[in-house]
Symmetry: none
């Protein structure tokens, strides 16, 4: 079975946005073991969309088409595909009703243009959109299958995972390609790679490292019958765990904040966070996790020295003597926020995120972490450099703070 | 003049990397005023590369082809193009000599495979690579021009900017295409569109809407001589401002948090933020902006009722009577954080981000904003629905909070 991906959107041909949809779909198809020989990108133009569909039908069994499903004048993918296949558009009253409800729930009156999205080619099945208004379209035509999905990534992912991928999995039968991502943090790519050099490459399972900001992903990929594939992935994971131990924080969709949350919940421990340079990012990441209210008590973003004194009880003399960016202040902030909240753990960050504010002794990228329990406090000094930029430094500081807590939790029962 | 972009590389069809080269080239071509109707992506396969080149030659005047120029077995782009055009490969001794020097400078002996890169189709010009080993290839064929460049972005940028773009600029004369993005928030895509329906489409300037999470981008694009283009963009922007007024929060790379920051700084006003469901996201966004410490005093992430009482002075009786997610609590949080910090403004958010925790009267997606000054407090109720998911609801709530503050700041001098 062979698939082809068509991305529709003039903004793609103007280079205004990156085509992340196409690479997401390519990945999904690779995991399904379906070959992709071509991707095409066309603008919002009837003749050219029809031409691209015609070409793809001549050389592929499955077409995944994204973009141009919305309510605007530009959105012509459904009509163009219907035209190319010689199928009239039919209005689906249930979709129209769903659109009306979508707007009613928000206390708004739908503009007439919205109902364009209720038009579906004859003989096609609408694909439910749980995350937006435009339904997708599933068509079978001369033994080929076409899936039309919206260009909004979040909506498209939902359709791909909820409808298209399961449908394709049924068709492909037994041989599959699966991957497992082993997520590593606390060391850089070269250091991680040098520990596992002899495991990289190889055939089923293959192990390939990908450097991300603040972490390294090791992708283990295996091909074969489903049972065999699962066994290969386990073997690959075990080999990596032997080398990397607790540098590995999670698997696949695990997030560092989710793993820290689970460790806290397991120990019935609670956490409060005091942030200076990360400005709320650690609290934001912790509360990205559903159910985080059971262990996350409060966060203080103490940007000013006054806030550090009033909210976190950092003695002005300590700031005076060591500076706001110092091990002493980080420890004092961690102690202060823990005491305030009455939590098991207090985590604090202070640093210079830049671009301005750096000095010879306190350069941009210098960050101190503080971590306090009722009877212990520690700090860690990080030199993150300034190359990563303000956003990068903030992310790396948050990552290091969460990882420091993770490693301490692993070594503690409370 | 019409151009087509062909990206060669199996890794692109497996979704292992994003095709940033294609969007870079598309942008460069847009700025040169050259239309792009199609992009193609093919794997490292002779027949398919030839097919893609044949198709592109049938519909474009200029072909930009990237990838597959290196020394490995996989790298077959030059040979495939030469084959398709019926031109033999010829060895260029000066390129071979340069490759030898490249390795000698690094104290290494070149492997024999490297010299594959000295083979260029008959009649073609090598394009110097100042940043790596593989030269590019420039070919004229039947009135068409083909440019082959390496897939390594850094090397390709050098060739595009140093050789290809100047060459194309000579051919196109002076006409350019420029865009300006008008950023809108506070109303959905359909509502925004219905206000500007008659302005959409048209030719120079064209206006096209793009829906983003929590905002709509209106892209104004103009084509012509440089002076004329700037005038057209101003005309387009003015027309949109007449219709949309303060729904427009910014232009091009402006961010909502950056605009709010500028408004605060201009008025020498300060801000403190109290967050429940957004969990630090508003503070994080505000402090993404360099220099935000001049107006952002502190943020409180008060997830628990205890924190709302202790840190924000929300009376337990108010929480008891109205629930933590209520207009009364939002107002009380805004007042409390403003008083605590001694700031000009206090902004607060409380809501149900889900996925759990919703009830019939307080469903997932229900959010209250509170905004306080020394002598006034207001609230706003939002029904965000649950389709956007936890992350989406949190983002939309943060967006609405920042926008509420922006609109109030626009109407105030202090």
């Amino acid at each position: 079975m062979r698939a082809e991906i068509i991305s529709v959107g003039t903004e793609l041909l103007l280079g205004q946005i990156l085509d992340t949809n196409a690479s997401y779909l390519a990945q999904q198809l690779a995991e399904l073991g379906i070959d992709v020989h071509f991707k095409q990108t066309v603008g919002d133009n009837d003749a050219r969309v029809r031409g691209a569909v015609r070409l793809a039908l001549s050389r592929a069994d499955v077409l995944l088409i994204t973009g141009g499903l919305g309510p605007t004048e530009d959105d012509l993918t459904v009509a163009s595909v219907a035209g190319e296949l010689g199928r009239p558009l039919e209005r689906h009253d249930d979709i129209a009703e769903r659109l009306r409800q979508f707007f009613a729930l928000r206390g708004r009156v739908p503009p007439e243009s919205v109902f364009k999205q209720a038009l579906i080619p004859a003989g096609a099945h609408p694909i439910p959109n749980m995350r937006g208004t435009a339904p997708g379209v599933h068509l079978e035509h001369d033994g080929r299958e076409l899936f039309l999905m919206p260009g909004v990534p979040f909506e498209m992912y939902g359709m791909m995972e909820g409808y298209v991928a399961p449908r394709l999995r049924e068709r492909t039968g037994s041989a599959v390609i699966h991957s497992r991502v082993i997520r590593v943090t606390g060391e850089g790519e070269s250091a991680v790679e040098s520990r596992i050099k002899d495991l990289i490459g190889g055939s089923s399972p293959t192990i390939a490292p990908y450097a991300k900001l603040g972490e390294v992903h090791l992708r283990v990929t295996a091909k074969g019958a489903p049972d065999d594939v699962a066994r290969q992935l386990d073997t690959g994971e075990r080999a990596l765990r032997e080398r990397l131990a607790d540098l590995i924080y999670g698997i696949d969709d695990d997030t560092l904040e989710g793993v820290v949350g689970r460790l806290l919940a397991d120990r019935r421990a609670t956490l409060a966070v005091a942030e200076s340079c990360t400005g709320g990012l650690i609290a934001k990441r912790l509360t990205d996790v559903p159910g985080s209210s059971t262990y996350f008590l409060e966060g203080i973003v103490a940007y000013s020295n006054d806030a550090k004194r009033d909210l976190l009880n950092v003695p002005p003399a300590v700031i005076e003597e060591h500076g706001a960016v110092s091990a002493e202040v980080a420890e004092s902030m961690a102690r202060g926020v823990r005491q305030r909240a009455g939590s098991t753990w207090g985590l604090a960050v202070t640093g210079v995120a830049g671009p301005a504010g750096g000095t010879a002794t306190k350069p941009v990228g210098l960050v101190f972490l503080g971590l306090a329990t009722a009877d212990h406090v520690q700090h860690r000094r990080l030199n993150l450099g300034e190359e990563a930029g303000r956003a990068g430094i903030r992310f790396l500081a948050a990552q290091a703070g969460l990882n420091l807590l993770r490693l301490r939790l692993l070594r503690s029962d409370a």
